[in-house]
């Protein structure tokens, strides 16, 4: 029982990341009809927004300490962060410590900007081209983006820790009367889960309760008719691309403390996120979220020793097995709409 509870909790944060990426993918697919293989790279860029903020806050000047020597025996150059020098070690230190949450403020405009540039500069030229062309160009874009990141940040992971206040883990077992350490869950993963819930809620609320969202939903249902009503739907969809990029970016920025960002992390999520979108149903936002959490939790269950001993290697293929079963029984995915990608 405790193992099941443990893996359910554990699947939630993984599911949160899948859901957020899949949500952005579905938004882009639903509005622009583009299969965006660069979406994983946008997630990676979000994580590197956190790395950038962390690096900016720790930008330092050097002073020579003649009493100490470096590894070559020369006088040691001591680094002091500018923010600590300007605001004092206490406030400056706190700013550095809270780099990841602060990076949200940086990531939103940057990612919307990147989304806008990518859509206007590249993707809009491929709206009327076949999906295969769109996949090729966005996949190429993903490779370019990750190579650019590698050029500036190197190939190895860069540690981007959570604030000290969120280090360690919460003992759920003790809370519900089980023995200590039976079910533990890291604080930052709880934060990530709630953060994802807020973002998903905000996107749904935006689409449901604003005029802009209403137009976008109408455009998703029938682009041509909305256009005939005199609404510049392309402009709105460009903004949606920016929003989808920002959602992926925020998911990446907050994910940075969970796994140290590296240039390849987007690719690791990309394929899984596509499976999530297909399982949830192409073009269905609730389907993407539902499938994201479902597959995240199932993946966690498949990693349990008891299950692995029965079915060795199941942890590596569970998502694809589930995808096959769902597509065989419900070809449009869990909540897929009729007519999407069926013409």
């Amino acid at each position: 029982m405790d193992a099941i509870l443990l893996q359910t909790l554990n699947g939630l944060d993984k599911g949160s990341a899948y859901a957020l990426i899949a949500l952005g993918l579905t938004l882009i697919f639903g509005t622009l009809g583009v299969v965006n293989f660069a979406h994983g790279a946008l997630f990676m860029l979000g994580a590197f927004c956190a790395v950038t903020v962390s690096k900016l806050l720790t930008l330092s000047f050097e002073t020579v300490d003649p009493t100490r020597v470096d590894f070559l025996g020369n006088p040691l150059k001591v680094k002091t962060a500018y923010v600590e020098s300007w605001f004092g070690p206490e406030f400056g230190g706190a700013l550095i410590d809270w780099a990841v949450p602060l990076s949200i403020l940086f990531a939103i405009p940057v990612m919307i900007g990147i989304g806008y540039v990518v859509e206007r500069g590249l993707i809009k030229h491929f709206y009327k081209r076949p999906h295969a062309d769109q996949i090729l160009v966005t996949f190429g874009l993903a490779i370019v983006l990750q190579e650019v990141v590698k050029y500036f940040f190197g190939a190895n992971p860069i540690p981007t820790p959570a604030p000290d206040a969120f280090k360690g883990s919460f003992d759920f077992g003790a809370l519900i009367g089980m023995e200590a350490n039976a079910i533990i869950y890291p604080y930052w993963r709880m934060v990530y889960f709630f953060f994802a819930a807020v973002i998903i809620g905000a996107v749904f609320a935006f689409l449901q309760f604003t005029t802009f969202g209403m137009v976008v939903r109408a455009g998703m249902a029938d682009r041509e008719t909305v256009g005939l009503l005199g609404i510049n739907i392309d402009k709105k969809f460009t903004i949606m691309f920016g929003i989808a990029a920002a959602v992926a970016g925020l998911a990446g920025a907050m994910y940075a403390p969970i796994n140290s960002p590296n240039y390849h992390m987007g690719m690791d999520f990309l394929v899984l996120s596509f499976v999530v979108v297909v399982v949830g149903g192409m073009g269905s936002l609730p389907g993407a979220v539902l499938a994201g959490f479902m597959l995240g939790i199932l993946e966690s269950f498949a990693s349990m020793n008891a299950i692995k001993s029965l079915l060795p290697g199941i942890d590596q293929i569970i998502i694809y097995v589930v995808a096959i079963i769902i597509l065989l029984t419900r070809p449009r995915g869990l909540m897929g709409r009729k007519g999407v990608m069926e013409d």
Partner: protein, 448 residues
């Protein structure tokens, strides 16, 4: 009008004489050209540096390449000479090798066996490389070693830690200076027992490929010999990035030590996840919970950040050692590049020097002469203390370092500190040890 008389017999005779006459020089040329693969004929000789220049281990590859370039510089008599000045063998004079200037070409392994074989093949066939060195994964090293054996060139393995490289997959043309998984286990286990006690229960998370399996087998056997119990061995996919679902059940299993048989990105992520779960703050079975990383890399330690503090592991070498060889190498490398060299850099540099020295001592680039010169070669002054290249399996035997993540690093390079220098005798094993059984060196292949 003259009349020519052509008889069948006459034509045959003339043809045979002319044919053999024409063939004669070709036979001589062929015999001299085919003495061995890529025999250097001009004033230079070419080395092939096969390292990951793209992909997840590109930073390791870059550091290996820096060391290779430094070694070539020193072999050709440029720079300050580095470890050539401290090396016990004095066969190299700083004027190239056997009077030939050393050139090099590079290939990109991408840390993929097929790409690594393709780049090695191209360097041998197109660029005329006489020796291939490099690698940052045991899968790659084993694949390239096999190719070099077939092609008739020497392979000086760099970063490869699986027992199999000099165990079941060993080859006569292949040599490894780096230590291996068995040695890590043998060096670490006594320190672990001393530090954490002999009544411990270990939980293993293991990367599911050749290196992970041999690392798990080695460290489990070594710790069990000191009374530890192995609670569970869980294999994790090499492509995994989030290890939370593997780490979450650890505390519940009754284990009080987590051993991460992971390297590279796997190690950074699994260790980060384990620390996030607060494992190191927990008390289990009345003892402080501990994490062990059997194989450390300085570059990866940087990736794991603060999470490595206090965690024990092993390395082949450290720039913080104080012997003359290390000091000379760190000075040379640090002056040229501005930061201290990694483990990977040192083994790459040492392998290049060792190959060049073997050629100089043998007086020939013939791979079989080089093999003979390296087999059973005892040397010192390359940073690891007295070292033996064992003839039976082409594995180097030297001291192994037990390292610990430093609590208060003085700078960004000062991440690991030496806890113990395990003497060579303690990490030696018989050539037919079960963990290394199943292969044979075979005969050296000069190729051509």
């Amino acid at each position: 009008m003259s009349k020519t008389t052509l008889t069948r017999r006459g034509v045959l005779k003339t043809g045979a004489v002319a044919g053999s006459g024409l063939a004669l020089p070709t036979i001589f040329t062929a015999s001299s050209a085919s003495a061995f693969t890529n025999e250097p004929t001009g004033g230079s000789v070419t080395f092939g540096f096969n390292v990951p220049q793209t992909g997840p281990y590109a930073d390791e590859g870059a550091d290996e390449l820096r060391a290779y370039e430094l070694a070539v510089e020193h072999l050709n008599g440029d720079g300050d000479g580095g470890m050539l000045n401290t090396f016990s063998s004095k066969a190299l004079q700083g004027n190239g090798i056997l009077g030939k200037k050393v050139d090099f070409v590079t290939g990109d392994t991408q840390t993929k066996s097929d790409a690594a074989r393709a780049s090695a093949k191209s360097m041998i066939e197109k660029d005329g490389a006489i020796m291939i060195t490099g690698g940052s994964s045991s899968g790659v090293a084993v694949a390239v070693q096999g190719l070099c054996q077939e092609a008739g060139v020497i392979f000086m393995a760099a970063l490869t830690h699986s027992n199999d490289t000099t165990g079941k997959d060993k080859k006569a043309n292949g040599f490894r200076h780096f230590f291996n998984a068995y040695m890590s286990g043998a060096a670490l286990a006594p320190v672990l027992a001393k530090r954490y006690g002999s009544d411990r229960r270990a939980y293993h998370l293991t990367a599911d490929y050749t290196w992970g399996w041999t690392q798990e087998e080695s460290i489990a056997a070594a710790t069990e010999a000191f009374g530890w119990e192995t609670v569970e061995k869980v294999r994790t996919p090499l492509a995994a990035t989030d290890f939370s679902s593997y780490i979450a059940p650890v505390l519940n299993s009754g284990a009080d030590v987590l051993i991460l048989n992971h390297y590279g990105g796997n190690m950074v992520n699994s260790l980060t996840n384990a620390v996030q779960f607060g494992l190191r703050d927990k008390m289990v079975n009345g003892k402080q919970f501990e994490i062990v990383v059997p194989l450390y890399s300085e570059l990866m330690a940087k990736g794991a950040g603060e999470n490595i503090k206090g965690i024990l592991g092993s390395t082949n070498w450290s720039w913080t050692l104080q012997d003359e060889g290390t000091k000379a190498f760190v000075k040379s490398f640090g002056t040229k590049y501005g930061f201290p060299p990694s483990n990977a850099a040192q083994t790459s540099y040492a392998q290049t020097i060792l190959y060049a020295d073997a050629v100089a001592r043998a007086g020939s680039f013939n791979p079989c002469a080089v093999v003979e010169a390296l087999e059973g070669f005892e040397f010192d002054g390359l940073g690891n203390g007295p070292t033996l290249y064992r003839a039976e399996d082409h594995q180097c035997f030297k001291d192994v370092l037990v390292m610990q993540g430093k609590e208060n690093p003085a700078n960004e390079y000062d991440l690991l500190e030496i806890v113990d220098i395990t003497p060579r005798a303690q990490v030696e094993y018989a050539p037919d040890h079960p963990m290394f059984a199943g292969g044979s060196l075979g005969k050296c292949n000069p190729g051509a």
